[in-house]
Symmetry: D3
Subunit: 203 residues, 6 copies
């Protein structure tokens, strides 16, 4: 077995070795287009393993390409720091009961924030986390976008502005929340599993 | 004033002519990249007007491109009918209190289903709509993906299969729900307005 | 078949002609008392058709008489405008998932407000509707009466007074909300169908 | 001071004697029409005191007349027993946080059921009350009508029929729930106070 | 049959005499340790009957001892008055749908407050009760501890301090709420029945 | 500074060293009774540090003693395994947004289950955790006890029995849930902080 086997899913979901499992639904992936195979092998080389989100979403190449293009458009923008973006992802994904996103992005948050404790704090109760009031206001807004966007009003914008957020950053907070809301739902649909490697990263 | 003026937003939100307004937040759009301008003018030529979602999202070209690539990947797939896809959009967008998406996709649903009444029925209470039990099960599942994806289980898949849905169609239902959940949140963030033209289309 | 047939329900729920259907439960109506028959024929002459709520509630003449007496007492009062009263009905009926009331009173709202768009806006998300802040405060209060009347307090009255509402008008808002809350529940109990004619009226 | 003073509200809300207070909002009632005065004095003669709901609603004679006509139409019907009707009122009014209705109809329930304990049981948690499974099913349905009528379906009717309820009785359960839902909202709007006499009746 | 029979549960749940029943689950209690038997007989001598909570929890002597030690630590402290403590218990137990605790502590509240009406008012809607604004703020806080303790913040403490509560009393409010939250859950688990004697005490 | 300083709280909440902080409210602890000091030093010797719950609750010696007596009565019982008990604590504490309990008992769960991944899985979405259906049923029941104990019925007991749980074990599940519900509320009241040591234990 080699990387190609893994990518094409021949090893997925086999046996009792939970750590190799990718998802409990939609497990079989057939031959992948070259660009997706190349993208996945690139991630593997950089991270040392292939995050399962790549393997699960690769089932649908067009959606895969759009998903990661959207992801990159939001995550590569200037404005919010990488740690701030990951805090938003972890807090809203926990609120959406998404195991994959909390574990995977919790790892990234610990690394970006250089803080071994922050991910668990933000996931479980960000109001009790060792973060600034500015960041708590950012997460209050993200949770409101996630849970009740229909009542968003000018007062919500004013609150964020009073904490120094610019309008483009407000869009970023909402955009990341909305995009990972999509991701959370796809992960829960597919029962996507976090790779074992994520749990201990950055601790 | 010409189309270009509209696209670049110079006319957006001006005066009391609600029907020209696009959004009450993030109203200014500057020069657009050529590919986005071309895309928008193409839609205008086909529809007779520019749906506001294009103008609002054009503020961020990379996200615009990814958004519509994702949209097309889901909406152009074989499997579910166009009317079924629009029913999912209307039901979940109503649940998310998204005025833009209910009005715009309600119009498309009426046209696709050749049914002047179905959009209002699905938006307000799909359980009382003149649709089949199969479609009610489809919408039950979509609402569950939208509101509580963390509890999705094998029994939900079995219910859909008993109504004849294939696994790829189940992914489609969830994918459309998840994608328009993103769209609903961005529309509520920006206070995106449905174009006046949508309200009466297909009635 | 003539009007009398319709009133006595002999044609109700027959065949696939949805537009003739009144309700999917409690469909049979027997001979009606003269005063109710006269009332219904009067409405038919004025509207051109018999709104289904008359046929469904006619099953119980005493409740029918009290229902419309209550309706008229609230709707014929001076104070709130007819458009304001219909906005309250549409917003709270949407919140109660009542297809009949949203479609029927949405039609009346469009006519009373001489506005083709307002009913859909108020039904889906009144916070995004093209209405004044005063009317949004009116609907905030109506929704609170509908969903959580037990926490109503003096501050709620003060908010409405600051928008110029008098105490009798506050009673009107709550009374209309409470009465149509009753109506919504009876319509959902009986699976009352909006007449097809309502959907396009006033657009 | 005499009865007429009480009826016209001159004594209402005066002093610290809570037991005389009727409501903390909309307290003043002016001269009453003769038919309403007669009705109220009739109740007083029968009950020994004037239940505050009469005084509060008398502020609006037309609504008063319709309210009690509706009340009588439902409560005087054959079918459900008086105790069953009062159980429905107490359970749904408690769910709606309505102090007046729980206390006043709790008294009536104790008397009708000849059971000193049943009202508190039904108000606090009817699932733990000393009532039959049939009555628990009746109250399950009433609560569903009260809280989520939009999802009522044929299965709910089947459940009630399996417990021996006829269709007209199902209408009664829902009608009483819907009517007292109106009453609960008006009582909470007006901060209507239960008369002190009710608390101990039937214990 | 004698007291000992009752304590050991031999008479529990027998026959149709509801008033003797203790719980519908976990009904059998075997021989009790001497200290618990002594404690129970002491309560019986003082109250004239054995509150069922003693018999139900006696099933597990170690938990029994800790439960009542915790109870006494909170209830015997100086600070809040006995009536205030009972108001907290009644309001939060009603919110937790706990029949036993509302009925039993409602009786104690009536006695402690020397007020025959207060228990029903606090149980059904404390916002409408004849209590001070200070006590309403106390119960607002207790309900927040009960329903959503994760969002408690400094502002909640400030509100209570503005009503004159000291920090130790704030702990008392929360501690009593938390402890009776445990008690409410155990009572609902065991279907613990209030003794008939409680219903009329203090009226 | 020595252990005694820590115990008496002189070092608590001082400076920016978050890891030494115990709670952000009720921070000062005065001299402790000897039995509590001895108990705390015993824990310190065994664990290598003093879990903050001991320092926070030591503020009230009588409640401290009852709390740990109750804790020990439940946690030292035969029946459920230690890992099962910790799963219940982690799942319900996460549901109650209790940072302290999830982090501290997550550590214990990893150790008891000899599984580095299980605590995060159970905290975020136990339905997706690598645990048996029997354990998912156990946690379904625990969450129901935590969130809606008033609707517990015989069917819930039957479900657990079908998974092999005995009645005493059902009491254990509910008892642990109820007791840690108390603990969760006290931790959120006091803003109790998990010791830094817990986060990485057992990974």
């Amino acid at each position: 077995m080699n990387d190609f086997d893994v990518i094409t899913g021949r090893e997925i979901g086999v046996g009792h070795n939970f750590s190799r499992r990718v998802a409990t639904r939609f497990q079989d992936v057939n031959d992948l287009p070259d660009d997706i195979k190349t993208a996945i092998l690139g991630v593997q080389e950089k991270a040392g393993f292939i995050p399962n989100v790549f393997l699960v979403l690769a089932r649908r190449p067009d959606e895969f390409r759009a998903f990661f293009a959207y992801h990159d458009a939001l995550m590569n923008r200037e404005g919010l720091t990488q740690a701030e973006k990951e805090m938003i992802i972890v807090a809203t994904s926990a609120n959406n009961d998404c195991l994959y996103c909390v574990v995977a992005h919790g790892a990234v948050l610990r690394i970006r924030a250089k803080n071994a404790l922050i991910a668990d704090q933000v996931a479980i109760n960000y109001r009790k986390a060792d973060i600034s009031d500015r960041h708590k206001a950012m997460l209050d807004f993200a949770l409101k976008v996630s849970n009740d966007a229909g009542v968003l009003g000018d007062a919500d914008f004013e609150t964020l502005r009073s904490h120094g957020f610019k309008d483009e950053e407000i869009w970023d907070i909402a955009g990341i929340t909305a995009f990972f809301g999509l991701s959370n739902r796809m992960a829960n649909l597919t029962a996507m599993r976090p790779n074992d490697e994520f749990y201990a990263m950055g601790r």
